[in-house]
């Protein structure tokens, strides 16, 4: 476990020294969501209707945007070779990397989304629900995206390929994340949606570290 926390702490320290990388991702999230009212028009009821879907899609894109460097830097400077040689499971290292990614993108996105939701005219309880769904759902995005990042490590045009691989796999998370917020707004069962969303995140937690480790092993060969 000490290796796990050490790896998370290392990644967080790296981000702390170059905070611009995270700032760019968050700025993308804000700018991308701002474009929707400009493209669709300023009618308040339309915007409130699409807000959850727009914010969830923008969060998904923002999370993917930051993923292509998740393992690439480690491959270039040799950290990945050390992780492969280390006496503790590579699966745990993969989980630590995704965990650090979630702390620096998922958490800020969940905190930022309600602020943007206000601009879309959402009610306070819907804002809270939006933040809660992002908090529960973004770990799944970090894990699935981490898998896509590991699979495309060293590939040509890895950024676009990463999105092509990760987006279909992220569809269930998107459906239940945005669906939960909409359920609350329209009087549906918010709890059921949130429970399925949590289940999706747990399935991702239980399956993706093995696949990421397998992908990293064949990248290191």
């Amino acid at each position: 476990m000490s290796g796990f926390s050490a790896l998370v702490a290392r990644d967080l320290r790296l981000v702390w020294r170059r905070p611009g990388d995270v700032a760019v991702v968050l700025a993308f999230f804000v700018v991308a969501t701002t474009l929707f009212p400009l493209g669709i028009g300023p009618e308040a009821n339309v915007l409130a209707r699409i807000a959850a879907g727009v914010l969830w899609c923008a969060a998904l894109f923002a999370a993917l945007l930051s993923l292509d460097r998740l393992f690439a830097a480690d491959l270039e400077d040799g950290t990945l070779d050390l992780l492969l040689l280390a006496p503790w499971p590579l699966e745990l290292a993969a989980l630590a990397k995704c965990c650090a990614h979630w702390i620096v993108t998922g958490l800020p996105l969940a905190a930022l989304a309600p602020v943007l939701g206000v601009a879309f005219g959402l009610e306070p309880d819907v804002l809270l629900a939006l933040s809660a769904t992002l908090l529960v759902g973004t770990p799944a995005l970090s894990l699935i995206g981490g898998l896509a990042a590991a699979l495309t490590l060293g590939a040509r045009k890895s950024g676009a390929l990463l999105a092509l691989l990760a987006l279909p796999l992220c569809v269930p998370t998107l459906i239940f994340g945005a669906g939960a917020v909409e359920a609350l707004a329209t009087g549906g069962d918010f709890g059921a949606h949130l429970a399925v969303l949590a289940a999706l995140a747990l399935v991702a937690l239980a399956t993706t570290p093995w696949a990421i480790a397998a992908a990293l092993r064949q990248a290191g060969e």
Binding site: L151, G154, R156, L164, L165, I175, F176, T208, A214, A215
Partner: protein, 239 residues
């Protein structure tokens, strides 16, 4: 299983395919000719849908084959990762575009069928949407297996993707069903109704078997091509 291991050696597979391919091609062409006669001429038009029901004879088998094809990709991926069968990688590389092709045929024929029946080329129906996502999974597999300078890396990355994809397919299907019931009531007319009459069922099953043979034929042919290509690349590297 023993037979499959026997075929894992590309040279032995090559001898097998050269014996099987000509008769398989012959059988496929004959069956396709008779199947098209059954589907286009012999079977009666539907009392509600008229002649457009004939689209089904290509549409439904294509959907079955597209789904089975992704299962095949996952099985080949497992064979590659577990036993490192060299042929599994080449066959997956050969099968993915064929499966994607059947998926595209299913989507296109469905769209052409939807226009006269539902009044729209595309509706966000649960089955259409999951088929589209299956097509995207195929595209990802094709792109990933060809994204590396060393083809072996692409093969193994694509194998992992196929295994993860096959686990996720039921989840995607389930969530799209849920999403559809949440967003729109079932306004779409469905075939459903009473059970299918034999005059339509027999041509449908015949076409399903025929198109499945076509799928196998194309995959085997393309696997042969992949073996040749890999040999050529190795020869070029050594030269």
């Amino acid at each position: 299983m023993a037979d499959l291991h026997f075929l894992a050696n590309p040279a032995r597979y090559r001898r097998f395919s050269q014996r099987v391919l000509p008769s398989l091609a012959f059988a496929t062409v004959l069956m396709l000719a008779f199947g098209l006669y059954l589907a286009l001429i012999q079977s009666p038009p539907d009392y509600q849908q008229g002649d457009t029901v004939r689209i089904m004879f290509v549409h439904v088998p294509s959907a079955w084959i597209a789904m089975a094809g992704y299962g095949l990709l996952a099985a080949l991926g497992a064979a590659l990762l577990v036993w490192r069968h060299p042929l599994a990688a080449l066959m997956a590389r050969a099968a993915a575009p064929v499966g994607a092709g059947f998926c595209a045929v299913c989507l296109l024929t469905g769209s052409l069928w939807g226009r006269p029946m539902w009044g729209a080329y595309w509706v966000w129906d649960a089955r259409l949407t999951s088929m589209l996502l299956l097509f995207f999974l195929y595209l990802g597999h094709i792109a990933l297996s060809r994204a590396y300078d060393e083809p072996e890396r692409g093969d193994r990355a694509a194998a992992i993707l196929a295994l993860i994809g096959v686990i996720n397919l039921p989840i995607i299907k389930f969530s799209v069903d849920w999403w559809n019931t949440l967003h729109q009531p079932a306004s779409v007319a469905r075939l459903g109704g009473p059970s299918i009459h034999p005059s339509i069922l027999v041509p449908l099953l015949w076409m399903a078997v025929t198109l499945f043979l076509l799928f196998v034929l194309l995959v085997l042919l393309r696997t042969d091509t992949e073996i040749d290509r890999r040999r050529l690349e190795n020869a070029e590297q050594q030269a």
